[in-house]
């Protein structure tokens, strides 16, 4: 009897000790399976399907499905999925092909509407040579944070501060942010140059934004995908709380924007947008990219990124394709002596 008991217990352990029987089987990696997996991810996770993209995506999927066979090569499959990805056009969504198992990847996607506009002839929002030679070098503007940011005042008016943030992709401590605002505290106004800043860490850009208000302000809401169905969304309302600092910047600010002011820069813009009486945008329409992306691997190892949320600002605007500036200014690229956007910002601040 005891032997039977022991045998039963051993059997219980052996049978139960295989969690794989409770898991879904590993997915297949043939072309059709990969296409279906990617299609499902877009259907279920992508947050911006109501932006006239649904019909376009459906057509593209039908087309791909009609030509896919088991003999479709990897390269052809990637090209087809690249076509599907490019319809998303939100600048975050992309598909990468891992070529060699190492770190090098080729990728498709990352179609930023602003970048596409520039390719299609939209006037550049910044000429870095003009900025560098006629403004940065001639003023007491210097590099900080290992050359990631530039700070100082412009030659035209030393009372006006200038801070150029070309990227939010930076590790910066709270103390370093505080030091920046300590340096700016005696200025009478600030030109904050976010042109060509395609994003980075939205937490950092939000921390910067928190220095420009002394009261909690409602800035808008984010729609998050919460489930696989088309209507599965939740809303988180965002409020910008002021930085816990005595060096908050509560003077006039001109934020310079262009079509490549994107992603985490859009986060900064929507956070300060309600402070209309003091903070204005100058330059070109911003790039957008307000959604938060998430990512993963397809069963064959291709790496995907999809925007799974979307931001709507306090004025009810969908920010995915950016917003027009308060003061539109176009660069005159013929005139190599002036940055008209900076000049206009200076006039506004004087």
């Amino acid at each position: 009897m005891k032997q039977i008991k022991i045998s039963l217990l051993l059997l219980l352990v052996m049978i139960s000790s295989c969690e794989k029987i409770t898991m879904e089987p590993n997915p297949k990696t043939d072309p059709l399976s990969i296409f279906n997996e990617y299609s499902k991810l877009i259907d279920e996770k992508y947050a911006m399907l109501d932006f006239n993209k649904q019909e376009e995506i459906k057509k593209e999927k039908d087309f791909i499905r009609s030509i896919l066979t088991s003999k479709t090569t990897e390269v052809m499959l990637f090209v087809l999925l690249e076509g599907l990805t490019s319809i998303l056009r939100d600048g975050h969504s992309a598909l990468f092909e891992r070529l060699d198992g190492e770190s090098s990847m080729s990728f498709s996607g990352f179609v930023m509407q602003g970048e596409q506009d520039i390719k299609d002839g939209y006037v550049l929002g910044i000429d870095k040579d003009i900025l560098d030679q006629n403004y940065i070098q001639k003023s007491d503007i210097r590099d900080i944070l290992g050359g990631k940011f530039q700070i100082g005042s412009l030659l035209q008016n030393k009372d006006i501060g200038y801070l150029r943030i070309p990227s939010w992709d930076i590790e910066v401590s709270d103390e370093e942010i505080e030091n920046i605002f300590i340096e700016l505290k005696d200025t009478k106004g600030l030109v904050l140059d976010l042109r060509d800043n395609v994003g980075g860490d939205a937490v950092v850009s939000t921390k910067f934004a928190s220095y420009f208000t002394d009261e909690t302000i409602y800035v808008g809401y984010e729609r998050f995908k919460t489930g696989p169905n088309y209507t599965d969304f939740s809303i988180s309302k965002y409020y910008l709380n002021p930085a816990k600092s005595v060096n908050k910047y509560l003077k006039p600010v001109m934020v310079l924007t262009d079509r490549k002011t994107y992603s985490a820069s859009t986060t900064f813009l929507y956070n300060v947008d309600p402070i209309e009486e003091r903070i204005k945008t100058v330059g070109q329409r911003s790039g957008g990219g307000s959604g938060i992306p998430t990512d993963g691997y397809l069963a064959n190892g291709w790496y995907w990124v999809l925007s799974t949320s979307e931001f709507i600002d306090a004025k009810g605007r969908h920010l995915n394709d950016g917003v027009d500036p308060d003061i539109p200014v176009v660069l005159n690229l013929e005139d190599k002596t002036k940055d008209e956007v900076i000049e206009r910002a200076m006039i506004e601040l004087q």
Binding site: I6, P27, T206, S234, N241, Y297
Partner: protein, 257 residues
């Protein structure tokens, strides 16, 4: 957290005072672990890999009951089974205490409380670079002893926990569903955020542990253990975790009365 440890300490003192002592051991444990993982919210690809297991604990047995306290750390490097994408270093730290009463010859039943159970993994190369389940679980426990064998079975009854990521963001699902995402909150969505836990009972999550221990000598024993956890934060999209381990226990002290 301090309160939890204080409670645990008091439990230890109380139980030790109540026992008519038979045997008490302080032990260390080491061995190998094999774990598997699948989060169908993002992919059906199963991750698996080998690693190590380390433990330390105290066990007291009397003719009427068994109680003990145990800290266990498992570290595994998992890899996806269908491609060569980034590997996934995985850690599981569990601090637990158990109390079982003898109800029949060689059969003990009672409860195990995982005071702290943190399962944490990272995904190389991903922005969504972490996956975690952290919390506390109360288990119904049974032990059957036969000669030098000891068989264990635990069934997870109640868990107070959180899991991240949610369906489509790094935040736990309940934070997103309740509309509580706050971009100015650095800790939100991290394993160090001790808020936003949820109380859930069997069968969601499903949690099972089994074990077989064989006493080799007075001081050495060898054990095979298995753990399964299946959580459905979103209907039809479960995440499943399995950990197998084979370990040797050495009783540093082995007092019998």
């Amino acid at each position: 957290m301090k309160k939890t440890f204080l409670t645990l300490f008091l439990l230890v003192i109380c139980f030790s005072g109540l026992q008519a002592q038979k045997k008490s051991v302080f032990y260390i444990e080491a061995g190998a672990a094999y774990s598997t993982f699948q989060d169908t919210k993002y992919s059906d690809v199963i991750y698996s890999g080998f690693g190590g297991k380390y433990g330390i604990g105290y066990l007291k047995e009397s003719p009427k009951n068994i109680w003990g306290i145990n800290l266990e750390i498992i570290a595994v490097n998992e890899k996806p089974s269908t491609h060569n994408g980034g590997s996934s270093p995985t850690f599981n730290v569990v601090l637990q205490t158990m109390y079982l009463r003898k109800i029949k010859d060689q059969l003990y039943v009672g409860a195990t409380w995982d005071v702290m159970d943190v399962y944490f993994k990272t995904f190389e190369d991903l922005n969504k670079d972490r996956h975690f389940v952290s919390g506390s679980t109360l288990w119904a426990s049974g032990i059957y002893s036969y000669k030098k064998f000891r068989f264990g079975l635990d069934l997870g009854l109640v868990s107070y926990f959180k899991e991240a990521p949610g369906f489509a963001s790094i935040y736990p699902q309940q934070i997103v569903e309740k509309g509580n995402v706050n971009p100015q909150d650095d800790k939100q969505g991290t394993v160090l955020d001790f808020r936003n836990y949820q109380l859930k009972t069997i069968p969601n999550p499903v949690q099972v542990r089994t074990s077989i221990r064989y006493q080799l000598t007075k001081r050495f024993s060898i054990a095979y253990k298995w753990r399964l956890r299946k959580i459905k934060q979103i209907k039809n999209y479960p995440s499943t975790y399995g950990i197998h381990s084979l370990s040797v226990r050495y009783n540093i002290t082995n007092k019998s009365k």
